[in-house]
Symmetry: C2
Subunit: 199 residues, 2 copies
């Protein structure tokens, strides 16, 4: 069974979609650990409710990123795929290189438009009429790695960050489990900047 580590910082709604897809048999994998960088967040409760091992590696308790990441690595153990699901920390190039081709993220915009931590705010400020979400492998840049899947959603004239975020999350919860299942099936071939989905 392919072992996933899911890293979260908050509510864990993407985590929940992965848990649900596994329960429904749509995703053939097991979550070996849920790890957060903050205590008392809902992601931990969701893992607990689903009987999944969970741990908080509180960023505030570590003087440096290197020590923080060393503690994460110790907790991850022998996982096949690291899944970032609303994990609001930038990982070091050293960490990223350890998991080349085995580290995924989901970003709430159609990359390369609107990278960074405030995608919905930036989308609304720019005035685009279509936004969406992107599942990608993580490289050493910010939101710049090879793209696995994307889904588009309409942006409405009266959208707020909350209403837009809710519409995009619906798509996130569909494409993230699917992208992970493609990984599990060995169908994702990285070729430079391209991810080819094999039949």
């Amino acid at each position: 069974m392919v072992k996933l580590a899911v890293l979260c910082s908050g509510r864990g709604s993407d985590l929940q979609s992965i848990i649900d897809a596994i329960k429904a048999g749509e995703l053939q994998a097991e979550i070996s650990i849920v790890l957060t960088d903050k205590p008392n967040v809902q992601a931990l409760t969701r893992a607990e409710s689903a009987d999944i091992k969970n741990v908080c590696v509180d960023r505030k308790l570590f003087a440096t990123r290197a020590e923080f990441e060393a503690e994460i690595l110790k907790n991850l153990g022998d996982v096949d795929l690291v899944v970032l699901a609303g994990f609001m920390r930038i990982l070091s190039p050293e960490f990223v290189r350890k998991f080349t081709g085995r580290l995924m993220n989901i970003h709430p915009s159609l990359l390369p438009s609107f990278p960074g931590a405030h995608a919905h705010r930036d989308v609304l400020a720019y005035g685009v009429k279509v936004s969406g979400c992107t599942v990608h492998f993580v490289d050493e840049g910010t939101d710049s790695g090879p793209i696995i899947m994307q889904a588009a959603v309409e942006v409405k004239d009266d959208d707020t960050e909350e209403t837009l975020s809710a519409r995009v999350l619906e798509q996130e919860h569909i494409i993230y489990p699917r992208a992970i299942q493609l990984f599990v099936e060995g169908r994702l071939k990285i070729d430079g900047r391209h991810v080819v989905i094999r039949d």
Copy 2:
């Protein structure tokens, strides 16, 4: 009747979609002139076939952009909306300012991703899984003006510039006439970077 000037550089397939929408009664406007910057292009033939006044203002015959644009202006006459439909020249800030809120362009990507003259090539090089097209008002930047409508299309792993372009063009031919009709109905309100579509 709202009078349109349509500026083209080549095949004129977006022009044809506008002609067809007018014939079908979906777009209540008339094209008072089709203008190209190159001789012997298909856009002129399409205009001719539809009995629309057409003229080539050959860029090569003018020493400066100012003289070229002065000749365009002379030909445009008293139009309500200038529609760029595959017009491959950058217009000067002076020209653009003359038509603030009355100058539209269509661009074959989901802006702000992939501006410039080689959108499909850049889309394929980056490896996105979703692209599309954007109708926007023209401002003094390149492909940077307030967005009126966008449509998304899937990018396939085996796409070439030709196959992707064909898929995007289908959407261009739907949204460009619709965006122009919204202008005709007085429903487009520009508010800074935003275009609000009024009921």
